[in-house]
Structure formats: structure tokens, C-alpha cells
């Protein structure tokens, strides 16, 4: 019987929204039985949160001290141990899922479908290739486990309901291979909303000119309640830390409202924002490619326009 297992991503005791988006992708498979596995040192809070997601049949809570920091080397054998009960195993296409899921797929002995953006049927998927310049339809072989990552930007999060599904405790099945040690995680700080999941994002490009120039972006974003992003050029120039990078090799996002400020619109940036609801571009170059995809454009000096916008909002 067809059954789906979703590997939950969570941080600091909270479910990452990419998990609920992966569930939305899974709902398209036409399979009723969807379990969510939560691997954690202490799983209760995350498991309860996952159990409220509509469409989930059951949450597996697997607790172990080793899961204080999740590494692919420790987790992939756990997924393999569960795999026998499932026809499909899905994870989010975040760096967590991209690191982990191929390792699990190889242990199971199957290929992986990366970055599913559309589910055609239980074994057929569409996914972007060539930085989103082409979409390919992929058919996974029948009769073996389907392992896939779900492209978060293509799905909205499954909603929470009133009747949580059951939570079942399981024992860890594997042991620590002992060769991979977590040292630390440095985050750029910032008290604004999370870039990956924010409804509104304001991004700056090379035209910001300096780290100080980016203050215009931070100030405007704060007024809007938006997350701050950046083009690769701005990150490479050292204006902002690299976790703010939006694009093919950075974050792929789908906010309702996106401001591209001083960003010319290289294809690798556009790949990261093409699922945004409404795109606004502000650039002094009227010929910039960003205007070809923006819903609204303003041509002019961003250092005049952006503060003016901030006042008007």
C-alpha cells in the first residue's frame, strides 16, 4: 500500500515552514497515508506542531541525544531503517533536505527527484533545471521507493487544523558513525522576519554601493515589516552576509510582495524570485532586465525613491 514519509525540518524547537510546504507537495500524490518523522533530542513540541498539520496521518517522534544537531551522516541510516514501510520519502529542498535526502536515497539504493515543483501523479514530477530556464518532467521507476525533495517556493504551507493526528514514539535505529561532529552555527543575526518564509521581501543589489548604502534597504524593510535580501553581486561585494543572497545559488523565495532595488536582474537572481506574487523593481537603468519581469517599475535614483516610498507607506 502506498505510504508517504516526510522528514521534518526544525530549529530551536519549532517546525520549519518548509516542512508544511513539503506536506502540501505530498498531498498532490493522491496517497492518503502521510507520516511525518521528527528526529530531535526532545521531540514533543515539534511533534505536536507537526501533528496539527492538515493532511498528516501520523507523526513519528524519534528522540536521541545525537539529534541535538542533525547531520546527514547520522540521519540517513535512520531514514533507511524506516524506508521499508513507505513507498515515498520526501524532504524539503532547503539546505537541510539537499544535504540529507541524497545520502538517504543512496543508502536505499534509488535515485532522487530534486526540487519537485509540480506533482503529476504518484511517480511523475516536474522540476526546474538549468537555473529554471527549462522544466523537465521526470518519471521515477515503478516498484521502488521514490525519494524526492519538494521545492518550497512552489507550495504554500499546509494549514494547521483543530484535530491533531496521533504521535507515535519510536526508538532510534542506527548509531553515531562518530566521524562527523557539529561545531557551531553562526547566523547573521537581524531581528526581521525570516527571508525564506517572509510575505514581503526587500532586496538590494550592487547599486547600494556599500554596506552603509544598505541602510536604506534595512530602514524601508523595517517600515514594511519585510525581510531583507540581496543579489549575489551585493553579497560578493561584501555589503551584506551571504545568507541574504536570493537566487539560484542562494535562497529561492516566493513572497507575496518583492522589491528588487538596484538589482539589474541577472538570470541567476530571477530564478530565485520567479514565484513571487508581485515584483516591484527600482533601478536607474530603464533597460535593466529586471523590468522585463517586474509587475511595477520605477526608473530613477533609488536613494531618492526608496526614502520617499518609506514616507508614503
Amino acid at each position: 500500500m502506498a505510504r508517504v514519509l516526510i522528514i521534518a525540518q526544525h530549529e530551536d524547537g519549532a517546525l520549519n515552514p518548509a516542512t508544511a510546504k513539503t506536506l502540501s507537495g505530498a498531498l498532490g500524490l493522491g496517497i492518503d497515508d502521510i507520516d511525518i518523522a521528527v528526529f530531535a533530542e526532545s521531540a514533543a513540541g515539534v511533534a505536536q506542531q507537526a501533528s496539527r498539520l492538515q493532511g498528516a496521518s501520523r507523526v513519528l517522534a524519534i528522540e536521541h541525544a545525537d539529534f541535538a544537531h542533525l547531520t546527514a551522516a547520522r540521519l540517513a541510516p535512520e531514514i533507511k531503517a524506516l524506508a521499508g514501510d513507505y513507498t515515498h520519502i520526501l524532504g524539503p529542498s532547503t539546505t537541510f533536505g539537499r544535504d540529507l535526502m541524497p545520502r538517504a536515497a543512496a543508502l536505499i539504493g534509488v535515485g532522487q527527484v530534486s526540487d519537485v515543483q509540480e506533482v503529476i501523479d504518484s511517480h511523475t514530477f516536474k522540476r526546474p533545471i538549468y537555473a529554471g530556464n527549462a522544466i523537465v518532467t521526470v518519471k521515477a521507476p515503478e516498484g521502488q521507493t521514490v525519494v524526492a525533495t519538494v521545492r518550497s517556493a512552489s507550495y504554500s504551507a499546509a494549514v494547521e487544523g483543530d484535530s491533531p493526528c496521533e504521535i507515535e514514539s519510536r526508538e532510534a535505529a542506527a548509531t553515531d558513525p562518530g566521524h562527523t561532529r557539529y561545531i557551531n552555527l553562526e547566523t547573521g543575526g537581524g531581528d526581521g522576519p525570516d527571508l525564506q518564509t517572509a510575505d514581503r521581501v526587500v532586496s538590494g543589489g550592487r547599486a547600494m554601493g556599500s554596506a552603509e548604502g544598505f541602510d536604506v534597504i534595512y530602514s524601508f524593510a523595517k517600515k514594511l515589516g519585510a525581510a531583507v535580501g540581496a543579489s549575489r553581486a551585493a553579497v560578493d561585494a561584501g555589503y551584506v552576509p551571504n545568507e541574504l543572497q536570493v537566487g539560484q545559488t542562494g535562497k529561492i523565495i516566493a513572497p507575496e510582495l518583492y522589491f528588487a532595488i538596484g538589482i539589474s536582474g541577472a538570470i541567476q537572481h530571477l530564478t530565485g524570485i520567479k514565484d513571487a506574487g508581485t515584483i516591484v523593481a527600482i533601478n536607474k537603468d530603464a533597460e535593466a532586465p529586471i523590468f522585463e519581469i517586474a509587475d511595477f517599475g520605477l526608473v530613477g535614483d533609488l536613494f531618492e525613491i526608496v526614502p520617499e516610498l518609506e514616507k508614503l507607506i
Binding site: 532522487q112 538549468y130 529554471g132 557551531n184 510582495l257 508581485t278 511595477f296 517599475g297
Partner: protein
């Protein structure tokens, strides 16, 4: 210590790829081909490790038809000591590639296999992780900094939340992210020198690799186009438009 750097021949990153009108693939005829940029970064890092005295040999390898020897020669010109070409006319998917690379590991015994974090053609981002699984060794993916000491690698990784640091025992699989380094330019004398460096060919069939069921790629299509919108005259007009759409 040996470092093995698998490189993939891909459509150059400057080429704007077009889907063939019959949907059978993307246009590659007469298109410039290059080393996958992330693989080039991996190779650069391997060369720097060797130049710092922490490795004796850097081996580049590629799986594909005759054409990928061009990219192997480029790798040799960058400074790799020798090259291995696993010859096949078929397309090789990540799991199969990982199984081939495992065979090369068994032959060569590298301490580090350094790959790009993804190939910019299929954007799968799988081969390194799959290889680490089959090899039963650590993986440190999306590396932006690598430090070696006492049989260990301390690797800073670009993850969604910021920069994560892992310590892994060698041998290990590492994959490069964009900001790990800037690859060197190849100079003409190095291209001449590269022609005399060893490049071994091995037929894929000789490696006795377990066949993997393939994902079937049934159709290609261009992405849906976002139609361009309007250029507005003033910040005031923009605010009005956004309010009309219920976005402000």
C-alpha cells in the same frame, strides 16, 4: 594524500539555455561547454591544499563521451597532476555517477573527494552526498571554508540559517559552494604542459558498476513567462497600485 576531483562538462554558465521546440531536450548544438563552475571551485581548492603542502597529488576525473577530455585537459592546465576519463556515451545520473566514483576511490585511495555542490545543468545537487553514503564516509557539503589538520577537515558550510561548521574525519567527501575561492585563470604555457600530463581512459563497462534504475526524463518545456508589467511615474503612483492590489 591524494585528492580526487570529479568534474562535469556542462553548458557554459553564460549561455542562455533554450528548450528544443519539440520538447526533447535543451539546445546544446554549437553551444559553449565548460567545466561545471562549482567543480572548478572544488579543483581550485584541491590545488591550494596541495600548494600548501597538505596533499601530494590532485587527480581530476570525468564520466562521459570523448568531448569531456577537453574539460579534463583544462583541469590539468589549472594544475591537476593527472586525469581519469571514464568513457561512456550514455548519460549518467547521480546515483550511477556515485557508483562509478566509488570504483575510482577503490583504485586510487584518496583522502578527499572534492566535488561541486551541484551541476548547473541538471541542478540535482546529489552526487557528493550519494558518494559519501556508498563510501560510508563523512560529507561536508556547500563548503565556503576548509581547514585541514591531523586527518580531519573543519568545514564551514553555507546553510539557509547562516554558516554551519562541521568537523569531519578523513577520508571524506566535500562539496564546494560559490564563495569557497575564485578559481585561477589558465595560462597558455600551462595549456601546453597539460598536453603532456597523463590522461587515462577506462571504459565504463570495465568498472563493473551495479546498474541503477533510471529516472526517465520524458519532456522538456520552457518555464512559464512572467509578463513584464508597467513602468510607473512616481513613488506615489506605486503606493496607490500596491494599495489597490491589497498589498499595502
Amino acid at each position: 594524500m591524494k585528492i580526487l576531483v570529479p568534474i562535469k562538462r556542462v553548458v557554459d554558465y553564460n549561455v542562455r539555455v533554450k528548450v528544443k521546440s519539440d520538447g526533447s531536450g535543451v539546445e546544446t548544438e554549437g553551444v559553449k561547454m565548460s567545466i561545471n563552475p562549482f567543480d572548478e571551485i572544488a579543483l581550485e581548492e584541491a590545488l591550494r591544499i596541495k600548494e600548501a603542502g597538505n596533499a601530494e597529488e590532485v587527480i581530476v576525473c570525468s564520466i562521459g563521451n570523448k568531448d569531456c577530455q577537453q574539460q579534463l585537459r583544462t583541469g590539468l592546465a589549472m594544475g591537476a597532476d593527472r586525469a581519469i576519463h571514464v568513457v561512456t556515451d550514455g548519460s549518467v545520473q547521480p546515483l550511477a555517477a556515485a557508483r562509478v566514483l566509488l570504483k575510482l576511490i577503490e583504485k586510487e585511495g584518496p583522502e578527499i573527494v572534492f566535488l561541486g555542490k551541484q551541476a548547473i545543468d541538471d541542478d540535482n545537487s546529489q552526487t557528493g552526498q550519494m558518494l559519501a553514503a556508498l563510501w560510508d564516509r563523512p560529507q561536508a557539503t556547500f563548503a565556503s571554508k576548509v581547514e585541514l589538520s591531523d586527518g580531519k577537515a573543519t568545514v564551514t558550510r553555507e546553510v539557509d540559517a547562516g554558516l554551519e561548521t562541521l568537523e569531519v574525519d578523513l577520508p571524506a567527501v566535500l562539496t564546494s559552494d560559490l564563495r569557497l575561492n575564485e578559481p585561477r585563470f589558465v595560462k597558455l604555457p600551462d595549456i601546453m604542459k597539460a598536453k603532456r600530463k597523463p590522461l587515462d581512459e577506462i571504459a565504463l563497462d570495465e568498472l563493473d558498476v551495479e546498474a541503477a534504475a533510471r529516472l526517465e526524463l520524458t519532456a522538456y518545456e520552457p518555464p512559464p513567462k512572467r509578463s513584464g508589467g508597467r513602468i510607473l511615474e512616481s513613488a506615489r503612483e506605486l503606493v496607490d497600485e500596491l494599495k489597490n492590489k491589497g498589498l499595502l
